[in-house]
């Protein structure tokens, strides 16, 4: 699960990470009082930041034509003006796709005088099965690009999960970033807090881009998390009630939310051939084989190990809600489950949804003969696929007509 920037900063602050003075606003009415507070606290400028689960906000464009999802205002009136152009409107960035995301929350922040920007992240290193802290002096940039062009500018420190982060490790990172004096000590505290956020919140990734040295109104310099992104382990949400409450359904595809209600694992893609498969690996392989034979998969859909009639029916309804879908390929390897039960479920689902699109079914495994007979005798137009390859070729051909 992903959360918004302002929520990420709330979590980070709980673990001692220095974050700017910021106020979220969910309605226009909340914007002016928030901007007032920031100015009263000594800020000359007010930054208005759109809150969506996607990067590239600053360079994004609203569907209204308004440029920029992050704006710096010199006056309170200007900040309110920006807010009016952002709230409720759809922001398109390089990460949102053409559909964009509706901005429902703004984050109002004190304008910061940035002296230097860094990159800091904590993630799982799959090769070692241990947490890894990555830091770079190249802040505010695309870190993948830095990794590719200047790998020497990325500093890595592996954490022993039995011990947790040791102060010397945070010191090594602060030194690698070139922090000195008071900023060095502040950096050590911040780095430790970022790691602890990752560990204690069951995060998959915590990323500060940028982490920055900022000059405050009184001329003092400090290090703080200017931007923050956190993604969390869905499997661990059961033990974090406060984080569950941060879920924003507005950021999730409606069909994926609907699918999750039936324990279906559905991911919408932009092709025309829908697939319904049992097992994640087989579902990926089914998408691949559709493409191999010249088609385009419309979705990933894993109905799991024990697909019931209700699940299969729900799956068909979800698939058919996608207007791009022109044909369906069902690929089931019934290891333990009875192919005839699946076949009965498919026939019921086709009848209930009144399916008119071409449907190819490939069944294999336990009691497959009875399953195929059920399909053949159902009176429903189902094309039989003998193997995965056969089924994929048949659905590509049927859709291509």
């Amino acid at each position: 699960m992903n959360i918004h920037e302002y929520q990420a900063k709330q979590l980070l602050a709980q673990y001692g990470v220095n974050v700017p003075f910021e106020i979220p606003a969910k309605s226009l009415a909340e914007v002016r009082p928030a901007a007032d507070k920031l100015v009263a606290a000594g800020s000359a400028k007010v930054v208005v930041k759109s809150q969506i689960h996607a990067g590239g906000r600053g360079k994004g464009t609203f569907k209204t034509g308004f440029q920029g999802g992050v704006k710096v205002a010199s006056t309170i009136d200007e900040a309110v003006g920006f807010a009016e152009k952002m709230l409720g409107n759809v922001l398109v960035t390089k990460q949102t796709g053409a559909d964009g995301r509706q901005v429902q929350t703004l984050l109002l922040a004190a304008g910061a005088k940035i002296k230097k920007e860094f990159y800091l992240a904590v993630l799982l290193n799959r090769e070692t099965s241990r947490p890894l802290i990555m830091a770079s002096t190249e802040g505010g940039m695309d870190i993948e690009e830095v990794a590719e062009k200047h790998p020497e500018k990325i500093f890595k420190e592996t954490i022993d999960p039995a011990v947790g982060i040791m102060p010397y490790q945070a010191r090594k990172i602060a030194a690698a970033l070139g922090l000195k004096g008071d900023l060095f000590n502040a950096g050590v505290m911040l780095i430790t807090g970022v790691y602890n956020t990752w560990w204690e919140c069951d995060a998959l990734m915590v990323e500060l881009n940028p982490l920055a040295i900022v000059e405050l109104a009184d001329g003092q310099e400090t290090v703080m998390a200017l931007d923050a992104k956190i993604s969390l382990d869905d499997n661990a949400l059961y033990r974090h009630k406060n984080i569950q409450d941060m879920r924003d359904l507005n950021e999730e595809a409606p069909l994926e939310i609907e699918a999750s209600k039936f324990n279906l694992n559905y991911i919408k893609l932009d092709g025309s051939i829908a697939c319904l498969v049992n097992g994640a690996g087989l579902a990926m392989a089914t998408m691949d084989i559709i493409q191999h034979y010249g088609g385009n998969p419309a979705n990933f859909l894993d109905v799991g190990g024990g697909a019931s009639k209700e699940q299969v029916t729900a799956a068909f309804k979800i698939i058919l809600s996608d207007p791009n879908v022109k044909g369906i390929m069902v690929n089931i390897f019934g290891g333990i489950m009875d192919c005839n039960v699946i076949a009965t479920g498919i026939v019921a689902a086709v009848k209930e949804t009144g399916l008119k699109l071409p449907l190819v079914v490939r069944l294999e495994g336990n009691n497959v003969a009875a399953g195929k007979q059920t399909l053949a005798e159902s009176g429903v137009a189902i094309i039989n696929g003998d193997s995965m390859a056969d089924a994929a070729q048949k659905i590509v051909k049927a859709v291509g007509k």
Binding site: R130, L269, A280, L282, M284, I336, M388
Partner: protein, 300 residues
């Protein structure tokens, strides 16, 4: 011969009284596997009865091992308690712990993996995996060792080793082999999570050392770099033909494809990179999942 388990292996089931654990304990007993004990805390002294067999239930794995001589376990306990169950199995000195449970938090597995570091006695397979099958000699491979949730009857005793991150793709490969009259030495599902106990490479090394295994099918998917590591080792060391398939060429970056570990992130873990590693290691590439068995058989 086979790897890791055989028809004599004594198996206990952690979580035998839950519906999922019970169902698959029954199927393993039907398959002829030596299910000698169950473990459910608080139900020690009771029995799990199926097909005329009475399997004793114990409160702790240590007790079960002491009383029955079990050397392997299948973990079916729910995700919040699974890390504890795995380490309990290791503490009891089991040779093999097979964690079937799906949905264990990453942090729990990071701790488990750290706790098992340096443990030369216990091997963990999984989690989030279909388990392991060494087919038997009877009808529909009856009499073999089945730990986990794989369908036993699709197997056939023979000489091909299968290792995979995905359950249904393993079954697909096994079925293709069996349908062509070709049997398997052992089939291992290592699981779809980002942190797992046994890697592709670990299993490949075991197959390479097993005199009865004459060919290997390795099935991978997007995410991580375990397939690349295995390919590198195979290139330098493996004496047996290996055929491979990688799932997820069409998966969009940044999205988890069902399995927690199946994600292309930061341009890493792509199907293209894995297929290239396979090719450079001389591994036969199955262009589609329908050709996994044929690709290997052509090499043999």
């Amino acid at each position: 011969m086979s790897i890791l388990v055989n028809s004599q292996t004594k198996v206990l089931v952690q979580g035998i009284t839950g519906s999922f654990g019970a169902k698959h304990a029954q199927l393993s007993i039907d398959y002829g596997t030596q299910i000698v004990a169950g473990v459910t805390p608080g139900k020690g002294g009771q029995f799990f009865e199926h097909g005329g067999k009475k399997v004793p239930i114990f409160d702790t794995v240590a007790d079960a091992v002491k009383q029955t001589g079990a050397t392997a376990s299948a973990v079916f306990v729910p995700p919040p308690f699974a890390a504890d169950a795995i380490l309990e199995g290791a503490d009891a000195g089991l040779d093999l712990v097979v964690a079937i449970t799906e949905g264990i938090p990453v942090r729990d597995m990071v701790r488990v993996k750290r706790a098992l570091q340096g443990n030369r006695k216990t091997r963990l397979i999984g989690p989030n995996c279909p388990g392991i099958v060494t087919p038997g000699e009877g009808k529909d491979s009856h009499g073999g060792c089945r730990i986990g949730i794989a369908p036993g009857y699709i197997h056939k005793k023979g000489n091909i080793g299968v290792v995979s991150r995905s359950g249904t793709l393993t079954y697909e490969a096994v079925w293709q082999l069996t349908a062509r009259g070709v049997g398997q030495s052992t089939c291992v599902g290592i699981g779809g999570d980002p942190v797992n106990g046994t890697s592709h490479l670990d299993v490949i090394k075991l197959f390479n050392a097993d005199p009865e295994t004459t060919g290997i099918i390795m099935i991978g998917e997007i995410g991580g770099s375990a397939e690349e590591e295995a390919a590198e080792w195979i290139k330098a060391n493996c004496k047996k033909p290996v055929a491979g398939f990688i799932a997820g060429a069409t998966a969009p970056p940044g999205r988890r494809m069902g399995h927690a570990g199946a994600i292309v992130s930061g341009g890493k873990g792509t199907a293209a990179a894995k297929i290239a590693a396979f090719q450079s290691a001389g591994i036969g590439i199955a262009i589609t999942p329908s050709e996994m068995a044929d690709t290997l058989l052509k090499m043999m």
